[in-house]
Point group: D2
Chain length 339, copies 4
Amino acid sequence: MIVAMQAEATENQINHICDRIREFGYTPHVIRGTERTVIAAIGPGDKKEHIENLKSADGVEDAFPILQPFKLVSKEVKKQRSVIQVGDVTIGDGGFVVMAGPCSVEGHEQLMSTAEAVAASGARILRGGAYKPRTSPYDFQGLAEEGLKLLAEARNRTGLKVITEVLDTEDVEVVAEYADILQIGARNMQNFALLKKLGEINKPVMLKRGLSATIKEFLLSAEYIVTHGNPNVMLCERGIRTFETATRNTLDIAAVPLLNELTHLPVVVDPSHATGKRSLVRPLAKASIAVGADGLMTEVHPRPEEAWSDGPQSLRFEEFAALMNEIEPYITLRKSESN
Amino acid sequence: MIVAMQAEATENQINHICDRIREFGYTPHVIRGTERTVIAAIGPGDKKEHIENLKSADGVEDAFPILQPFKLVSKEVKKQRSVIQVGDVTIGDGGFVVMAGPCSVEGHEQLMSTAEAVAASGARILRGGAYKPRTSPYDFQGLAEEGLKLLAEARNRTGLKVITEVLDTEDVEVVAEYADILQIGARNMQNFALLKKLGEINKPVMLKRGLSATIKEFLLSAEYIVTHGNPNVMLCERGIRTFETATRNTLDIAAVPLLNELTHLPVVVDPSHATGKRSLVRPLAKASIAVGADGLMTEVHPRPEEAWSDGPQSLRFEEFAALMNEIEPYITLRKSESN
Amino acid sequence: MIVAMQAEATENQINHICDRIREFGYTPHVIRGTERTVIAAIGPGDKKEHIENLKSADGVEDAFPILQPFKLVSKEVKKQRSVIQVGDVTIGDGGFVVMAGPCSVEGHEQLMSTAEAVAASGARILRGGAYKPRTSPYDFQGLAEEGLKLLAEARNRTGLKVITEVLDTEDVEVVAEYADILQIGARNMQNFALLKKLGEINKPVMLKRGLSATIKEFLLSAEYIVTHGNPNVMLCERGIRTFETATRNTLDIAAVPLLNELTHLPVVVDPSHATGKRSLVRPLAKASIAVGADGLMTEVHPRPEEAWSDGPQSLRFEEFAALMNEIEPYITLRKSESN
Amino acid sequence: MIVAMQAEATENQINHICDRIREFGYTPHVIRGTERTVIAAIGPGDKKEHIENLKSADGVEDAFPILQPFKLVSKEVKKQRSVIQVGDVTIGDGGFVVMAGPCSVEGHEQLMSTAEAVAASGARILRGGAYKPRTSPYDFQGLAEEGLKLLAEARNRTGLKVITEVLDTEDVEVVAEYADILQIGARNMQNFALLKKLGEINKPVMLKRGLSATIKEFLLSAEYIVTHGNPNVMLCERGIRTFETATRNTLDIAAVPLLNELTHLPVVVDPSHATGKRSLVRPLAKASIAVGADGLMTEVHPRPEEAWSDGPQSLRFEEFAALMNEIEPYITLRKSESN
């Protein structure tokens, strides 16, 4: 790490910082400039605690790390891309996997018809919320275990794998019993108790980026799951919160190729939540393929105007079928590029 | 709620929307403009589900609520300000309560010396984290129940009340056993399972605003706790995430008087987390009094440069004593205003 | 427009608002709900001034427009997409035009070699800054007219059209003399004097989105140019400022299809400024085609590590040639879709 | 500056960077860590151009400055706080100066009555816009020189000094003829041509912070004015753009004490534009004093509900008088602190 001393820092202060750096197990290198003295500390990891300690000392202007704080999810540690196997569905091998289904599981007919429709159009994974994180306590909170059972039934009928969100540590066990992939929603990206718990199960996890999470924080949350024992993590870019209100969130599409530079984990894009607008899902799905995403998550509902949640961004069956047709040549084109 | 039809909406579409509005239990009023038809729907609450349904229908450009989504925490529902009693400490009665202590409980000497120092300077409530939400899995995660015990011991010694954070539903019981006020951290502001659980306990809760939470979402999260049975909620403005990096977050000071217009719940300001800089805590503490906050939360540590977390924003004992001296005349001035 | 009265608004206040609405030339429609009275005002345009006046009156909680504030640039006013002709180069006809060149014009050899390289690779328009908006007064401010002359020479040599930025009303004349397209940079998107001046010239203008401009503000700035007489405006999405620092800005890719819904003006994407990272330009260029952009603007430099500005995001000649090769099949695929 | 090499950087790449650093006139210090090599470059100023050049080179992961980019406005260069004299009004000497008046100059009666009212209540400076930056071309654009003449007449009548905005380089001369202080609005904070021009006049300038400007960019824009010859610059914090929509902008109150640490220039707060809500102006005015601002700018109008702009945030005469009464004891308290 690097410690920049204040212009007026004294020799005693500089010596004190060097002593602290040695105490922490690093080697200090003092570099005296015309306006500032800078101290580089070389050693085993740039621990946040050490950086904060140095920053708190008299005479220090700033202290910052050189090394990235994430390790196990980093491409520097593991060069080879992680491939996640969910039964016969493979995510991260260069293909493009589509996850589709309703925002909320609402009932038998709704889910079964949707599952059959999305499977017929070529989706491989069924999404559907049984436990719903809702901004207002007055909104529908999900069917809970009854919803999970419906998802399992839909899997049996269609052969689709099932992804569903888990909201709380207490529900991890029951969700893991029914789901093939457990999803951590954007609002829980830094629910560290939940991250640790999902590190202890042996099913894949899809971690959604928090509304105001930096790429670094996103990867550190993934690091929680991996350090606790579960390497089968995929990331989902679903839009970040910005000043713009014309769309629900702002899809950070550049995050996809950037994550591909930084981590070996697969990356999925969710244009439905990113924009909140049905008409934008199709072009963004194609863009996701173009930038190298490993998959797409999108909301589909038999009758969006009767949906219990997220209707405005849900595709009708025929719209989803059209999307699948449209993205096909983009998938083909991308495959041809990598050959 | 208001439904704005697209310019090219047909009569059939307009009629269909009116039918849906009636189905939902509202009365539609069609207003035909030169460029747009607008439909006002009058009835019992502007439910998000209904708004989304209408927004999903053909011919609709936009649909939005007129009524605020929060009820029980709203000043329209309860005009009188809520006063929270924590033993002999009163929050929300026009006074200004100071909560101070270390970011993390690190050990016996650290906590007891801090508790004694802040009590001597006039703080009424001791803060200290036993369960720590940390961005990185490699950072100190807190002493857990051992930390809670130390907090309880400090309370016995000093007479200070204790506030501490709870991270997970599974820990609510044990934290409630030791703490006088349970804190929900910024990263958990929309951990709805946790909000519900804290609605079921009979101890006061301090809810911190999420990093990217709007005022509306902040109040809806408070509404979760209140609708689940616990009316003793106070709010804490602790800075929001913006593009500015010169401070850790951006303290939204205007949120304090705005919340005072919208809700009857007490509002506390945390300038330590808002800025991440020790030197800014003092002026912002005075500003908090000037804008009408009910209290202050700030970090104090015997030796910030050895703190296990948040050293750069922690005050030393003498700095905290100076702060308490400095804010005194502001408190007195504010009291004189309300007379 | 819609006026929502406060819960406690009196009859007198409601009547007063209706009077004001009539004075402004609208017809008021009073709708009485259980909790709020809402007044819809029907008439010629939802003028901001009127909305603010009503919002300032006693008893009013909020007032907001239903109609979009932009007119001439709107698809409602002109359904047919605008096509901009720059000599033999056509922008907005469904094709994909590439604008490339150095951030700053630095000298003869730099510009001529770059112009020849980008022309050889298939770019149609040469970019290059002669007047440079620089955050610091100590940074290179551009070669001014000397730079314009070099751009003109490069045009003569290569047949490329020239786009360059104008910073100030006083420079409009000289820039218009040399350039084929005048660019308004992000920092000047709301320099209204400049917008008006560019409304009076008869050359095409490319308007870049401001760092924190909403889509609505972006279109209103374009409206300035069009209302002042110049219909040849194209828009450029170049990233917005958010909390994320891993990229220089956040490319709002969803803005492209959204703008295509709202306006008939062509839309260009600039992934160089959006990300600040050379390695991200290529995937984002492909994504731009996939979402329906009309063109790409990107920085190219013979030796990025000697560039006087924006080196880290500038492509080398061979990298630009590779990009052009890679996007070719995406352009072909998109053309096949529209048939 | 500091250059962090990539983990896999070669010896040749490291040597090449050292050569470049020497070419730029700095001395390189190579520090070899276990995971990364870091090169510190010591020398005359951390020029952005050099940093970008190094960042563009092969084998480099990142390069960043240690020194602040602003010089003349920095407290390191000039420890003594700048005091700006506008006739008999002093800004920056520890007092608190109030600037008040209408958003726009609308006519004779409006301006004269407002000037007399605010003077009677204790304001020292009259604000009023003659050239108005308006988001929409359909909004009132200001009375231009006629407005300036009215401002001058109001000055003669009341003895108030006059501050008014200049939008364009071409108007600088005429505005400087009438105004005592020239204001650069938020949207022009990075209109560098305008900044340079205002560096050449001999009247004080108030520079408003841009909607999405960092503190560093804000100070660099001030540096433009000072380096071009005009040291009489004051800064105005007027809210930044964030995701929050409950207020028009987010007042970054912490920026005031932070600027006081970084620069010797006076700092003024504008709570009217920061919030857009009349009811929030009063508490924020008091907070501005508490955090150490040198002055306040606020909007006052005889009849806000007839104002041609910014009515909802404008104070009525009696409200402004009440504000002045309320802030008086805060000013007194602050003065007593500094003794």
